[in-house]
């Protein structure tokens, strides 16, 4: 169903531009191929290009790195390993107090698949990639841990000595008297949640262009970074320069971010270091495999949430136990994902007593960072699933339980138990309107009718408070009050805007909001046009940032949905400040009081005598041309920069109460889903989402944010998961494995609005961009739980997972197959067995199999085979599977030799694209026709890039390679052919071992 957007109104006199869905000023360029994204911009002549060699192991010691061959390749300027980077940088700061370092590249140990191990810099990208393939890294694998609860189990592999037991932080909080509330309540409900890893995956990947001026020891960096610019201090510190020697700029356009491009910052350090070492500008554009594997992801979290509940469903207390998985390193600003919601742990509900235990753990997965919703999806999944469970447990309607607990409309501004100051709202009214306008009664009737026919139909509800405009001090809640006192207070959120008038009186606006497609330039042109009585097209807005020249603060950037509430409001304040001075100038020119001045239709006019007026551009230009003739109290009107920070954003108090965000929108969602009884596919029948985001500045863009967030949340609920094998191998390295919603899966949500302005922001606006990422996953989960009548639901709701819930675990396949098959679920070990026939007696075949020259000619893609001893071989092979072609070095040893009847082979293969290990037993016997019958069995394991992106193709490719080996062997043996599958020494170990596996 398509829903109309309120489109641009015709120009009709005096109504304000704010609130109208005018066409976007950004769009003409973007629609005609004239966008200016980072990789669209030219670079200086002589700029070098970087590629990054990454770890195929989740956890391993680096024994050696041999980059000589890579360095010798023509066009290669440098190969930087960890020690080279360390020589010119210092560790990134870590967000908790612990003796732990955090480098943008592995030093002597890798801790996640995809961790940078070397940076190759060459005259072009292809040459850099050629060189990266020649680097030989010797690893000694360690045991890996990927599960957050497993990581804090005694005996688990430890990632950092400075985080004993992998625990980076463990804090307990207590608000009110939760113990008494639990003791006094008639009911206690609990829920255990595992929230999965996912990412909003912008279609444009990371990009960095860096240069270093050795004379001034100053860096200049262009990156599609999104903020927060508190990270600027982290980068400068890592590069060992003061902030004024790190000039960080952003390109005019950025291809989506949703928080993710905050995570480019370690690469800024890395590429800047490469620029310093080579003395040349260096450019790096991330590829999609790198992005999915190793850019950044949202945190996965294990939560136990309990509620003390009265008989009528009123929640009296909550007890949170959250174990946050931040991946292999605690990178800035983590553990912010966990603390962003700290003030909002009671959601939309009036709950007086709260107990919290927050643990932050490290595991062998990609480090986490900003992602749309940022902590909200994890919190609301637990809270809103629990509310449904309470309703079922007490035999109440879930919507009644929600309504019983909502904060009273008369209670605003309302201080939550954990410290948030909820600015405004009328949650009861919003729910009532949504129920009516969204036709809940009709949906319920539909559910009843469907169920009467035996269909699986369910309805889910969610109520969510959407925080926006983060308090820069919330993260210090992770510290104790004593630690905070020592560190000094952190709070506030400085927004900035600059309004300038040029010599012909045209208006320019600059902000440090770094949009990635949200249309900030358009909205600001509306806001400022209203103040000056101009049209949006008269206002030119620039949203690029240059930290060397522009006004900015640590809070600058595009995150925490801060644009409408903070940045647009600040632009209004800046314009009003200029307008106030212009009014004094115009008053003196028109001989009226300043209070009599209005700005309208391009003129500055006397309210009482509209004939008495002067063109805006004329007044606006005076400060340039004739400053001496201006009234003394007017000051200049050339340029005004306003910084605005809301006083409500105070630091955490001594009882750890924190107003983590300035604004709080309200969302109430409900939906109907139907589940196919055969395929268990979830279909969204209808999705209703009611938003109160305060004053709406541009209805089309607000709906755009809601739809976009809804779609990403739908993906998180139904399809998306950054999947890891138990050994830490990453399994979803392509967009064919990490499934994103497309046009055929995304319905149009029914969007409704209510506007309760925020009393804390200049325009009354609140953030709106992240809400559905918080509300929609759990709303869909509640609906699916309702449809299936089950208590435990884990995302994503893929049919296979629902099948396990509904039908139990899948039985093992029947034995006896000859093709490779996984030994057991969750393990990427493969085993198989088979037979083949080759012409030539066993003695002849035996000799061939052990002869390096023969092997080199029959192994597909073999470059060389070296015989180290009679039973020890090394081979160098190049093989392609699907999109992945790579070189592997194999090391094979023979055991239990029984010539010419049997041999056992054991070995491993490694390459830039992956690694494998395998063991196989081969027996040779006469086939009765002068030939040899070969029987083999093998057991192998695979990891690394090939497992991330070739997983679906490996079985088929394996058979092809075995076939090729056999055909060649048979030809060498004097004709004949191999039937069916086959085996080989190196086809098993050198290549197949390096190639098959990676099954989920």
């Amino acid at each position: 169903m398509l829903q109309a957007v309120k489109s641009a109104n015709p120009e009709r006199g005096d109504e304000p531009w704010v609130g109208r869905s005018i066409e976007r000023v950004e769009d003409a360029a973007l629609l005609s191929g004239r966008g200016r994204f980072i990789d669209d911009l030219g670079v200086a002549p002589g700029t070098l290009h970087a590629t990054i060699l990454r770890s195929p192991h989740a956890h391993a010691d680096i024994l050696s790195i041999d980059a000589e061959a890579a360095r010798r390749l023509p066009g290669v300027a440098a190969v930087l390993t960890g020690s080279d980077v360390k020589a010119v940088t210092t560790s990134l700061v870590v967000g908790v107090k612990a003796p732990v370092e955090c480098w943008p590249i592995a030093l002597d140990r890798v801790r996640y698949v995809g961790e940078p191990v070397a940076v190759v810099v060459a005259t072009d990208r292809a040459r850099a990639e050629d060189a990266a393939e020649l680097i030989n890294v010797e690893y000694r694998p360690r045991n890996a841990v990927v599960d957050p609860l497993g990581a804090i189990t005694p005996g688990a592999p430890v990632l950092h000595d400075g985080f004993p037991g992998n625990l980076a932080s463990d804090r307990a909080f207590r608000y009110g008297d939760p113990e008494k509330a639990f003791a006094d309540s008639p009911h206690r409900f609990s829920i255990d949640i595992r929230y999965p890893r996912n990412s909003c995956t912008p279609i444009e990947t990371y990009g960095v262009v860096a240069s270093h001026d050795a004379g001034e020891d100053a860096y200049e960096v262009l990156a599609n970074f999104q903020g927060p610019f508190s990270i600027h201090t982290v980068i400068a510190r890592a590069l060992k320069v003061p902030g004024n020697r790190l000039r960080l700029r952003t390109p005019p356009d950025s291809g989506g971010s949703f928080g993710v491009k905050q995570g480019v910052f370690p690469y800024i350090v890395l590429i800047a270091a490469a620029a310093r070492v080579t003395g040349k500008p260096v450019k790096w554009i991330e590829d999609r495999l790198e992005h999915l594997t190793a850019s950044v992801s949202a945190t996965n979290r294990a939560t136990t949430l309990s509620a003390a509940v009265a008989a009528d469903g009123k929640i009296l207390a909550l007890d949170w136990d959250q174990v946050e998985d931040c991946g292999a390193h605690l990178r800035a600003p983590e553990p912010a994902t966990l603390y962003r919601m700290h003030g909002n742990l009671t959601g939309a509900y009036d709950i007086g007593h709260v107990k919290v235990r927050n643990r932050v753990v490290v595991t062998n997965k990609t480090p986490t960072g900003l992602n749309r919703g940022f902590g909200g999806p994890q919190v609301y999944f637990a809270l809103e699933r629990l509310v449904q469970r309470i309703a079922i447990g007490l035999g109440l309607d879930p919507l009644d339980v929600i309504k019983r607990n909502l904060i009273d409309a008369g209670a605003f501004p309302y201080r939550t138990a954990t410290g948030a100051l909820l600015d405004s709202g009328n949650y009861q009214e919003a729910v009532a309107r949504a129920v009516e306008q969204g036709r809940l009664a009709e949906l319920k009737a539909k559910r009843d009718a469907a169920r009467a026919q035996g269909r699986l139909y369910g309805i889910g509800f969610t109520a969510v408070v959407e925080p926006s405009v983060s308090n820069m001090g919330y993260i210090t809640t992770v510290l104790t009050a004593a630690e905070r006192r020592r560190a000094g207070p952190k709070n506030g959120a400085q927004a900035t805007a600059t309004v300038g008038l040029d010599p012909v009186g045209s208006v320019t606006v600059h902000v440090a909001s770094v949009p990635q497609g949200q249309g900030h330039r358009t909205v600001l042109s509306q806001v400022v046009a209203d103040v000056f009585g101009l049209q949006p097209r008269d206002i030119r807005v620039n949203t690029e940032i240059d930290t060397a020249k522009d006004a900015w603060s640590i809070a600058s950037g595009n995150y925490a949905s801060r644009f409408a509430a903070a940045v647009a409001g600040t632009a209004k304040l800046a314009a009003e400040r200029v307008a106030g001075r212009l009014a004094r100038i115009a008053a003196s020119q028109l001989n009226v009081e300043a209070g009599d001045i209005v700005f309208a239709k391009g003129f500055v006019t006397s309210k009482h005598n509209p004939e008495n007026r002067i063109a805006f551009s004329r007044v606006a230009a005076l400060s340039h041309w004739s400053p001496g003739s201006l009234p003394d109290d007017a000051g200049q009107t050339i340029r005004e920069t306003v910084f605005w920070t809301p006083p409500e954003l105070t630091p955490p108090d001594d009882e750890d109460r924190i107003n983590s965000s300035l604004c709080h929108g309200f969302i109430f969602d409900f939906c109907g889903v139907e589940i196919d009884p055969v395929t268990l596919e979830t279909r969204i029948d209808r999705y209703v989402t009611m938003h109160d985001c305060g004053t709406i500045l541009h209805p089309g863009m607000v709906n755009g944010q809601i739809r976009g967030g809804f779609t990403q949340a739908l993906g998180a609920a139904l399809f998306e998961e950054y999947a890891y094998a138990e050994d830490g191998s990453f399994l979803t390295g392509t967009l064919a494995d990490y499934l994103l919603p497309t046009t055929t899966e995304v319905p149009e949500p029914e969007i409704f609005h209510m506007e309760t302005p925020s009393p804390f922001t200049p325009l009354g606006a609140k953030g709106v961009g992240e809400g559905n990422c918080m509300s929609t996953p759990v709303c869909l989960a509640n609906a699916v739980a309702d449809a299936l009548g089950v208590a435990d639901i884990t995302l994503p709701l893929v049919p296979a997972r629902l099948a396990e819930i509904v039908r139990g675990a899948e039985p093992p396949p029947p034995a006896g197959g000859t093709t490779a098959a996984p030994v057991r679920k969750g393990d990427r070990r493969l085993s198989g067995e088979g037979q083949a026939t080759v012409k030539g007696a066993p003695e002849q075949v035996w000799a061939m199999l052990l002869d390096p020259a023969t092997l080199q000619s029959v192994i597909p893609g073999c470059q060389s085979v070296d015989k180290i001893t009679d039973t020890h071989f090394r081979a160098d092979v190049t093989l392609g599977i699907g999109p992945v072609t790579g070189r592997y070095r194999a090391d094979v040893e023979l055991f239990d030799l029984d010539p010419p009847r049997a041999v056992t082979l054991r070995g491993g293969a490694t390459g830039a694209l992956g690694f494998g290990s395998a063991e196989g037993r081969i027996t040779l016997a006469p086939d009765g026709n002068g030939g040899t019958k070969l029987s083999y069995s093998y057991d192998a394991a695979i990891g690394g890039k090939v497992a991330s992106i070739g997983g679906r193709l490996l079985d088929g490719a394996t058979r092809v390679i075995i076939g090729q080996f056999f055909t060649a062997l048979a030809r060498k043996a004097g004709g004949g052919g191999a039937a069916g599958g086959g085996f080989s020494l190196f086809a098993l170990l050198a290549k197949l071992a390096g190639l098959f596996g990676g099954r989920r």
């Binding site: 398509l2 829903q3 957007v5 489109s7 641009a8 869905s21 066409e23 976007r24 950004e26 769009d27 003409a28 973007l30 629609l31 005609s32 191929g33 004239r34 966008g35 994204f37 990789d39 669209d40 292809a126 909003c200 995956t201 912008p202 279609i203 444009e204 990947t205 356009d253 950025s254 291809g255 989506g256 949703f258 590829d287 999609r288 990635q516 497609g517 949200q518 249309g519 089309g700 863009m701 709906n703 755009g704 739809r707 976009g708 809804f710 779609t711 990403q712 392509t734 967009l735 064919a736 994103l740 497309t742 046009t743 055929t744 995304v746 149009e748 949500p749 999109p883 992106i949």
Partner: protein
Amino acid sequence: MTRLKADSRHAVRFSLNGKPVEGEAEPRMLLSDFLRHQLGATGTHVGCEHGVCGACTVIVDGMLTRSCLTLAAQVDGCELRTVEGLAPSADRLGVLQQAFRRNHALQCGFCTAGILMSLDHYLAKNPAPTEAEIRDLLSGHICRCTGYTPIIKAALEAAAELTSAKKETSDA
């Protein structure tokens, strides 16, 4: 069939939006990289380099083509159309582009070029598509910003407008 040497650069000539262009490419160079970095036609974007996201879609000899799965050398002598050729003039947008702007059918605009090319190609052959047909067509494109509905709406509006414009022309 011409054999190209892997380690040398070869001349590649084709027609880009009606104008002859040429450059040199190693055999392994992708068409997407050639367009963007050799010819400066940066309107075509690269999102995944494995043919899933659709951002790099261009038209080669009348066929929708993923330029990230095509080698530059393969299009020697072909007719190519890219997003840069859609607007009737530098300061005016075409009907489909205007419909996108009117419906807020783009946010960051990174995936948009590929979507426009698919729609432009499809609407020329299917002037009266249904919503389901447009959704099916665009299922080969990933957009992370818009939630797709405004794109569908823009496509249907553009189709209707193009049809009525054609009718007027033929009536005249």
